[in-house]
Amino acid sequence: MTAYLKLDHIDKVFTRGAATTEVLKEINLTIEKGEYVSIIGHSGCGKSTLLNIIAGLTGATTGGVLLENREVNSPGPDRAVVFQNHSLLPWLTVYENVRLGVDKVFSRTKSRAERDAWVMHNLSLVQMAHARDKRPSEISGGMKQRVGIARALAMEPKVLLLDEPFGALDALTRAHLQDSVMALHQKLGNTILMITHDVDEAVLLSDRIVMMTNGPSARIGEVLEVPLTRPRKRLELATSATYLKCRQRVLEFLYERHRFIEAA
């Protein structure tokens, strides 16, 4: 198995004054090219911290991230992030938000006209080309997240990092966007790492599900392969025995073996 993205013995300790909190402990994971991997765990287990470490936005205390056998420790467009709250710049239009990244990444390799066409291509991939001149405040939450995905895709990342991308959306919009992401993954073959706390979402989208134990000192508790063939159909899966079994496994892990103690 060739490791495309490798998380190598990652520990993360937060220090505030004299108090230290160990958030992540001994995280080892290898992800192959084109794989869709989800990380699931209760809130506060450090899964977002892990994503930030991979993105380079936070440093690991020990250990490191290898992408194509090179260590990465600063943020860059090869690991584009789709943020939970979309993080579009409100003073730029939809087009300009995507263009910002495109201009930086392809400043040497693409001409102006090519960059323009590339932005529009990515906007149409997420069905947002019609809203190119709208500002983020003028479009719905689901549309904002689509633009956020287009912005990340347009940077042609080696790994696409999704930080609870559908968490802030209502159930119907979420399902719609999940289908879109599945279709994009099918079409473009991106390597995707997604943080989620939604069991159905994880099973539906992923090739592998990484389950994290509760923090502090969260570890990888279990990794589950999802042997469902693609393309996957939401409706057919609802009755599929494999789907239900995977779902069962994740639920058992989260609610029996690693109950969220602080939940109230």
């Binding site: 936005l57 943020p75 467009p77 993080s87 409100p90 003073w91 930086k104 159930a171 399902a175 409706l235």
Partner: protein, 298 residues
């Protein structure tokens, strides 16, 4: 169980969900005449109350000051005395014997110059203090002390330094209006959401691009708050400074009128000072509103 039920709902609801925003984006428009009538009503509702209040206050002023031997002239006398100044603001008899337009324009020029300098320096220092913890620790106490010094207290020092009235007046405007600009800019920079910084980091903006594409737009609402306070302060300072340095300018016009006991002229000048100050404030607010459109509401 309810799982599969939820999925069926999602599938069927999808077309409706994508169609809904289109409906929301084309609101129905009422007929034209109705719209005009409503606009007129709204304007009247805004204009009439202040007009009524002004009329009442003028009446009270007239009644109080009309009796013989009152220290201040009533509005009717003010108007009679200053009719020439009001009707011909553009005369120029040489020296400081000029129409009010020239006095106001001289003051406005000083303000424009000093305020532009303080806007540039204020935003630059504000960015520095907002961005760097060390700059904040080092400079903030200094700013907090300096900003409490009244504008006119700077005047003798600046006269000593520049040995001329004109640059001294400009310096006083500069030093008066810079503090709110620095402080508000710094707050704006410090309040840039981490999300925007993350976006900039992932896209790998260089510091210059980060400044122009993220920092300034994100902090613009705060910066304009500072600029708006600053323009008000600089207009306050110029009138006072001009009284002392002399020459052409609305401040000295007021002082000159007092020395020649032309009380009516003072009242007229105060009226103009108020109007100009109001217009300046609105101007900066308007520019701010235009520049930060989209930024304020998220």
């Amino acid at each position: 169980m309810n799982m599969s039920a939820a999925k069926i709902e999602i599938e069927t609801a999808t077309p409706a969900a994508s169609a809904a925003p289109v409906v929301a984006m084309t609101p129905k428009r009422p007929p034209r005449t109705e719209a005009y009538a409503r606009m007129a009503r709204q304007t009247a509702a805004r204009v009439i109350p202040p007009l009524v209040v002004i009329a009442l206050l003028t009446l009270v002023w007239e009644l109080v000051c009309r009796r013989a031997g009152s220290a201040l002239p009533p509005p009717s006398k003010v108007f009679k005395d200053t009719k020439e100044l009001i009707l011909d603001p553009f005369f120029d008899h040489g020296g400081i014997d000029k129409g009010l337009f020239w006095h106001l324009s001289a003051s406005l020029q000083r303000v424009a110059f000093g305020y532009s300098l303080s806007a540039i320096a204020g935003i630059a220092l504000g960015v520095l203090v907002g961005q760097s913890v060390w700059a904040m620790r080092g400079l903030d106490p200094l700013f907090q002390v300096l900003r409490t010094i009244p504008p006119l207290a700077w005047l003798p020092l600046s006269l000593a330094a520049f040995r001329d009235g004109q640059p001294s007046a400009i310096f006083v405007i500069f030093i008066t209006s810079i503090w709110p600009i620095i402080i508000n800019t710094a707050v704006g920079i410090r309040n840039i959401p981490q999300d925007y910084r993350n976006v900039a980091a992932v896209v790998q903006l260089n510091p210059l691009e980060f400044f122009s594409k993220i920092m300034i737009p994100a902090a613009a609402p705060y910066i304009f708050t500072g600029l708006r306070i600053g323009i008000g302060l600089s207009w306050l300072a110029i009138v006072a400074a001009e009284m002392l340095i002399g020459g052409v300018g609305i401040g000295f016009f007021i002082w000159d009128a007092w020395n020649s006991s032309h009380i009516s002229e003072i009242i007229l000048a105060l009226f103009y000072v108020g109007i100009v100050g109001f217009v300046l404030d609105r101007l900066i607010a308007g520019i701010g509103k235009f520049v930060t459109r989209g930024t304020a509401q998220n």
